[in-house]
């Protein structure tokens, strides 16, 4: 599997680039990766859904979809689209160090 190195962080990724080892994700790394995907500054508003994603997937074993972020996490979909523009679910999963969500809704 490909190995990415940045600022002293080394982690394996799948063929799409998502982190393969959930333990490899950290807030320090998330801040670095956010900069790479065009989110310059991770604010508390960004951290809340990212942290929820990690705790939720730790119990369910899968990455929550945007719908689950709304119903279980209580996050506003519109806000998630503003915070993580373009592909919010995938960006969230990437920064949280999780695989991309597989659910349809």
């Amino acid at each position: 599997m490909p190995i990415n190195t940045i600022d002293g962080h080394t982690f394996t990724v799948n063929d799409e680039g998502f982190l393969t080892d959930r333990a490899g994700g950290s807030e320090d790394l998330a801040a670095i990766l956010a900069d790479l995907i065009g989110i310059d500054d991770l604010t508390e508003q960004h951290w809340a859904p990212l942290r929820f994603m990690r705790t939720d997937s730790a119990t369910t074993g899968v990455t929550p979809t945007l719908r689950r972020m709304q119903t279980v996490g209580g996050f506003d979909i519109k806000e998630l689209f503003l915070l993580f523009p373009g592909k919010p679910a995938k960006k969230l999963a990437y920064l949280a160090g999780l695989p991309k969500p597989v659910g349809c809704v």
């Binding site: 190195t5 790479l36 065009g38 373009g86 592909k87």
Partner: protein, 201 residues
């Protein structure tokens, strides 16, 4: 934004939403559309089971950062009409692919057997089938139709009602879901959907 280092593998967060650049034409002929990826869905059916494909695809497209437009026409207007969209129904009639997973518990293999059409005509059968489908959807945490429209609106999906069907069915604009941006003509939609991948449902 920081540049991506050499050899760093990163998921595609934008490039994939762009249509592939058309090959430059050498003889001056018009080239294929090469702008950002765009999708247009036409929802023409008002059955519960036919409402979901458009809503789910529209939501998925928006989540991929694709500019998405949905045009509701004919019976599809029932999806965005607040007076009807919480009462969409599912009928077994005319659906030869009607199976029930639960029947497999009675006898293995039964879950793949298509149910007789005559059953669908029994009084109350449509209500039962509708209730069952709604439950199965809810179990998967799929929102019901009105809530799905809220979701699409929040995701920035553009929705329109078809002028001709709207007039034909004598609907009121006040009855339309607030996410619907307008009642537009077929020609308007053709203009809006220029360059889009169009899906008719």
């Amino acid at each position: 934004m920081r540049a991506i280092p050499d050899g760093f593998l990163i998921p595609d967060f934008g490039g994939a939403s762009q249509a592939p650049a058309a090959a430059a034409s050498t003889d001056g002929a018009p080239t294929a559309y090469a702008g950002p990826r765009k999708m247009a869905l036409i929802c023409s059916k008002g059955n519960l089971d036919m409402a979901y494909p458009g809503l789910i695809l529209g939501n998925a497209a928006a989540g991929e950062g694709i500019e998405t437009h949905i045009f509701f026409t004919f019976w599809g207007l029932d999806i965005i009409n607040k007076k009807t969209n919480d009462k969409l129904k599912f009928t077994m009639l005319g659906n030869t692919a009607m199976h029930m997973a639960e029947l497999g518990y009675l006898r293995p293999g039964l879950e793949h057997v298509s149910m007789p059409q005559a059953m669908g005509q029994l009084p109350g059968m449509t209500a039962i089938a509708t209730r069952m489908m709604k439950k199965q959807m809810a179990d998967l945490d799929i929102p019901d139709v009105p809530e799905f429209l809220d979701l699409l609106q929040a995701a920035g999906v553009h929705m329109y009602a078809c002028r001709l069907s709207f007039d034909m069915m004598k609907l009121l604009e006040a009855d339309l879901h607030p996410g619907v941006e307008g009642v537009i003509s077929a020609a308007d939609f053709i203009e809006i959907s220029a360059g889009a991948q169009t899906i008719f449902i």
